[in-house]
Point group: C2
Chain length 422, copies 2
C-alpha cells in the first residue's frame, strides 16, 4: 500500500462527465490498495470567468485590498471542483471528503495572487486516510495567518499537489496533464522530439524556468526541496488503462543521477519568447554601476533574467539585460527617464523581438565543449548570438526571435535528441 497524490488539471475537470472519469480513475487506484489524496484544478475556463467578473468592476486599479478579494473570488473555482469530485467519488462507492485550503489548513504568506506555501497541517487529512477516505484538496490556494484566503498564482495547483505530497511524505505525486510527459523539446516545433522516461530534478527545474510549460516552476522547486518523487503523465488515457502500465507512463522526475542520464549530455532544448532586451550604451565603467542600474529596476518590481556587461573601452561600457515582455515598456521608460540620465548613459536601446534558447543537461557538469558545440551549431545556421548565459547544467543564448524555430531544430539534431539514449 502506497500513499499517492494525484493532481488533475482544469481540462480533466472540464465537465461533470470528465469529473466522473477522474473519479473512476482515482477509484481504480484505491481498489488497487493505495491511499489517495487528490488535488484538482478549477473546471477549465472557470478561473478566467471569475476574474473576468472582477475585472469588469476594477479594470485597472489593483491595490492589495482588491487583490485580497480577487484571491477570495478565484479560490471558489477549486472549491467547486473538490466538492464535485468528492460527490463523484462517493457515487463510485468510495468514501470521500473535500477540503478547501483553509480547512486543512494550508498556510501561506500574505502575498495575495502569488502567495507561497509555508506549512501544511496533515493531521486532518491523515485521520481521513486512516479511516479509509479519499481526501480531495483544493489546489491553487491557502490561507494566511489572519485567515485571509490567498492564491498561489497561475498553475499553482501543481505546487499545491507537490506541497501536499511533501507534507504527507507521499510515495509519489502524479501530475495528470494534457501532455503525456516531458519532451526533449516542444513537439509542435520539432516533430522528432522524444518523451523522456526520466529527467533529473535539476534539469526539470531548468526546463521549467526556461519556458517549458509542463509544470509550474515552483512545484519543481518544492519537489526538489522535499525530494518528492514526481511523475508527469497524460490525463487523456482511458481511465481503465492497466494500473501497472499507467504507473510507469509519462516522465518521472528523479533525484538520483543514474548512469543513463550521465550518458545523455543534453536532455532537452527549452525556449521562450517572453523576454525583451534593453541596453544602456556608453555607461562609465566604475565600481557600483551594475547596482546603480539594476537597483531601481528591482525596486520597480521588474524581474531581470540575463545580464551582460561588455568589456570596457575608454572607461565606458555597454550594459544589457532582459526582462519579461510584460515589463518591457515600463522598464524602457524607467531607463530612458531616470536610470539612463543618472548613470550618464549615452543612449538607451530596447528590443522586444528576441528569444532565448537553452540546452539543458545534467551531463554538462562533467563534459567539456558542450557550449562550444552549441555555438558552432548556431553559427553553421548563420544565427547571430546576442547574449549568452550559463549555469552548471544549461547554456542559454539570446537570439533574434525570427530564428527561434530554426535554432531549436538545429540544436535538437546536433545533440542527437531524436535518438533514444544508448
Amino acid at each position: 500500500m502506497a500513499l499517492i497524490v494525484h493532481k488533475y488539471g482544469g481540462t480533466s475537470m472540464g465537465s461533470t462527465e470528465r469529473i466522473r472519469n477522474v473519479a473512476k480513475r482515482v477509484a481504480k487506484w484505491v481498489r488497487a490498495g493505495h491511499q489517495l489524496v487528490v488535488v484538482p484544478s478549477a473546471m477549465s475556463g472557470e478561473t478566467n470567468r471569475l476574474l473576468g467578473l472582477a475585472k469588469e468592476l476594477s479594470p485597472e486599479v489593483v491595490t492589495p485590498s482588491i487583490q485580497r478579494e480577487l484571491d477570495a473570488i478565484a479560490a471558489t473555482g477549486e472549491q467547486v471542483s473538490v466538492g464535485l469530485l468528492s460527490i463523484a467519488l462517493q457515487q463510485e462507492g468510495m468514501e470521500a471528503v473535500s477540503y478547501s485550503g483553509w480547512q486543512v489548513p494550508i498556510r501561506t504568506d500574505k502575498s495575495y495572487t502569488k502567495a507561497r506555501i509555508q506549512s501544511i497541517d496533515d493531521a486532518r487529512v491523515r485521520a481521513d486516510l486512516a479511516a479509509g477516505r479519499v481526501v480531495v484538496i483544493t489546489g491553487f490556494q491557502g490561507v494566511d495567518e489572519d485567515d485571509n484566503v490567498t492564491t498561489l498564482g497561475r498553475g499553482g495547483s501543481d505546487t499545491s499537489a507537490v506541497a501536499v505530497a511533501a507534507a504527507m511524505k507521499a510515495d509519489e505525486c502524479l501530475i495528470y496533464t494534457d501532455v503525456d510527459g516531458v519532451y526533449t523539446t516542444d513537439p509542435r516545433i520539432v516533430p522528432e522530439a522524444r518523451r523522456l522516461h526520466t529527467i533529473s530534478f535539476e534539469e526539470m527545474l531548468e526546463m521549467a524556468s526556461l519556458g517549458s510549460k509542463v509544470l509550474q516552476i515552483r512545484s519543481v522547486e518544492f519537489a526538489g526541496k522535499y525530494r518528492v518523487p514526481l511523475r508527469v503523465l497524460s490525463s487523456f488515457t482511458p481511465w481503465d488503462i492497466d494500473i501497472v502500465e499507467e504507473a510507469k507512463s509519462g516522465t518521472l522526475i528523479t533525484f538520483e543521477e543514474d548512469e543513463k542520464m550521465e550518458q545523455a549530455v543534453v536532455s532537452g532544448i527549452a525556449f521562450n519568447r517572453d523576454e525583451a532586451k534593453v541596453t544602456l550604451l556608453g555607461v562609465p565603467d566604475k565600481p557600483g554601476i551594475a547596482f546603480q542600474i539594476l537597483g531601481p529596476v528591482a525596486d520597480a518590481n521588474i524581474d531581470i533574467d540575463v545580464i551582460i556587461q561588455n568589456v570596457s573601452q575608454d572607461g565606458k561600457t555597454d550594459f544589457s539585460f532582459t526582462v519579461h515582455r510584460n515589463d518591457y515598456a515600463r522598464c524602457l521608460d524607467l531607463l530612458k527617464n531616470t536610470v539612463g540620465p543618472a548613470v550618464q548613459a549615452t543612449q538607451v536601446l530596447g528590443d522586444p523581438k528576441i528569444c532565448k534558447v537553452s540546452i539543458v543537461g545534467i551531463g554538462m557538469k562533467s563534459h567539456v565543449g558542450v557550449a562550444a558545440k552549441m555555438f558552432r551549431c548556431l553559427s553553421e545556421e548563420a544565427i547571430n548570438i546576442q547574449m549568452i548565459s550559463t549555469s552548471e547544467i544549461k547554456t542559454s543564448v539570446v537570439i533574434d526571435e525570427k530564428y527561434m524555430e530554426l535554432a531549436v531544430r538545429a540544436l535538437h539534431k546536433a545533440f542527437d535528441l531524436d535518438q533514444e539514449a544508448a
Copy 2:
C-alpha cells in the same frame, strides 16, 4: 451615526452592472454617516447552476457526506458575490473588506443544507467598522464546530442578515428585495392589495409561515428573538433616491403594538398551495391513537401542519392532517402500507388539490367574531371549508384549491383591506 445592515437578493446582485449600483447605494449610506454591514446573496441563477452540476453527478442519493459537499459547493456563490461587491465598493472610494461565513466566523449546527446559526463572533467585523471599513459578509452560510461549511437553506441570506444585525446590535436591518414591502395579500391575486407601512413581528411571522414569500420565516423568528428592527424595501428604486425617503420606505416590522395596529383587526391574507391532505377513516377512538398515527409520520421526517380529528361515532373516528406536497406520495404510502393497517383504519384517502387560506391580525387577540366573519364570507361564496386551524392572531382554513383566488379576494374585501386603516 447608526449601524445599519443591508441585505441584497440575487436579482440585485445579478450582474456586475447591478453590483455597481448596490455599491453606489451602500456608499450613499456611508457618506450619510452610517456604519454599514452588507449581506448579499449569490448572483441570481448561480446557486441553481452550482447545485445543477452536483445533481448531474448525484441525481438521487443524498447522504450526509454528499450534503456536506453540496453545502461547500453552494456556498461559493455568495463567496463570489461578497468579493465582487467589496471590489465595487472600493471602486466607489470606500474602504471595504469581504468575509465568508467561516472567516467571521458564523457558527452553525451540523445540519447540512438547513443549518441553524448558533453564534456570531463580532470582534473582527467590529474592528473593521471602527477602522472605517464597509464589511461585506456572505449570506446563506456558516461553519460548524469542525470547520465544515454549512448552508442555511433557501432564502437563508435573510436569516444571515438578521443574525448579523442581532449580533452587532444594529440599529436597523434593511432587506432590499424585488417587492417594495409587505402587502395585505399578493397583488397578483388581488390588485387592490395595499402595502403595509408597518406590521407587527407576530403578524409577519404568521404571514411568512403561511406562505407569504417576502421573508424567510427563520429570519423573522430571529428578528423577533433578538428584537432586530427589520425593514423590507424595494431594490428597484434608483440608487440615488433621497436617503430620508428611502429610510422610511417599504414595510417596517415592529415590536410595539401601536394604536393603529389595534384598530386593524386583520392585517393581511396569506395563502399557499404547497400542502396536501391525507385522511384515515374509521380509526378506533381510543387514547394514544394520534400518537400511533403521527409518530411514524414524524419518524419519516415528514412535517405535519393542520390536524383534525372528527367527533367519534360508534367508537370510531376520522383523522385528517396536511403535509407538504413534496412529502405527499411518501406519506400516503406510509399510511396505506404501515400506519393504516396498524391502527385498523377502514380506509386511507388523500387529496393533493387543496390550499390553505389564512387571515392574520394582531387585533384578533382583542376582537371576537373575526373567525365567524371569515366563515360567513366563505359561505356566501359557497366555498366549502374542509379543515380549520386557529392561533391567537390567525385563522386558517383548508379549501379546495380551485377556490383559492376567489376566497382570497372575497376575504380581502370583507375585511376592508383595500382601505387604508383609519
